[in-house]
Symmetry: C2
Subunit: 135 residues, 2 copies
Amino acid sequence: MNIGDAAARSGLPAKTIRYYEDIGLVSPARSNNGYRDFSDTDLHNLAFVQRARSLGFSIEECRALLSLYDDRERASADVKALAKAHLDQIEGKISGLQAMQKTLSELVHKCHGDDRPDCPILDGLAGEHRKEVCK
Amino acid sequence: MNIGDAAARSGLPAKTIRYYEDIGLVSPARSNNGYRDFSDTDLHNLAFVQRARSLGFSIEECRALLSLYDDRERASADVKALAKAHLDQIEGKISGLQAMQKTLSELVHKCHGDDRPDCPILDGLAGEHRKEVCK
DNA sequence: GCTTGACCTTCCAGACACTGGAAGCCTTAT
DNA sequence: ATAAGGCTTCCAGTGTCTGGAAGGTCAAGC
């Protein structure tokens, strides 16, 4: 299967698939004409990575997950630990963003948003209401 | 004020401040010895950017905010629009992360996490329970 | 005056995960 | 024969720093 089909079936852009080959995430065979030739296994790996990436795993985490997938002897606890660590990271990011959201929505709410120049948002950023921006 | 003091007072690493000068966010004067010499205004701008960055504004948004701050004639509506757009972005990121969190925590929950090899997390990523990973 | 250590300077490279574009080869259809 | 579209490689850029090397400057202590 050529890269275009692999792209369509895995949901990844062809450019990204070439990049994944570059960094060793997949190693498709080559046809006589030099084109990449993706097997079902290659395609599976690509789709696997696509899903893992969409869950926010880093490339290195995807690499680890792929090798755990290949290792039929590994303990599921190893996978769970990796996933749990990532889940904690996601939850940390959510908390951080929620804190930003709270502060920023308060500022936006306070700003009358008309054609007058004074603006609580800029005042907040400038530190004039510091306790409300950086508590 | 030297860069070390500016760093301590703005909460930014010295490296980052040099980078901000590189990209034109601040333009500190220079002393005779070639050291950067930060004025109160420079320091204010750094602290401003530090706060805006901590609220997740991009560098280019910070640049826009700084120039809005400098423009004593601007309408607060302009600032509000920028902040609101950013707030929407943050909310979008939160939703995305929450979707990841939901899917991943379901998978983690399903995985027994012992020393047996079968693992619902990897199965999910491999697409064997596709509807639960990619709805 | 000399050394030491802390500070400052510039420049280069690397991190992440792609993404765009240029130049050129291959295939398929007309 | 030609044109369109797919494929190849390689180089460069994105955003936001961060680390490190090589070297200049300053203040304190001997």
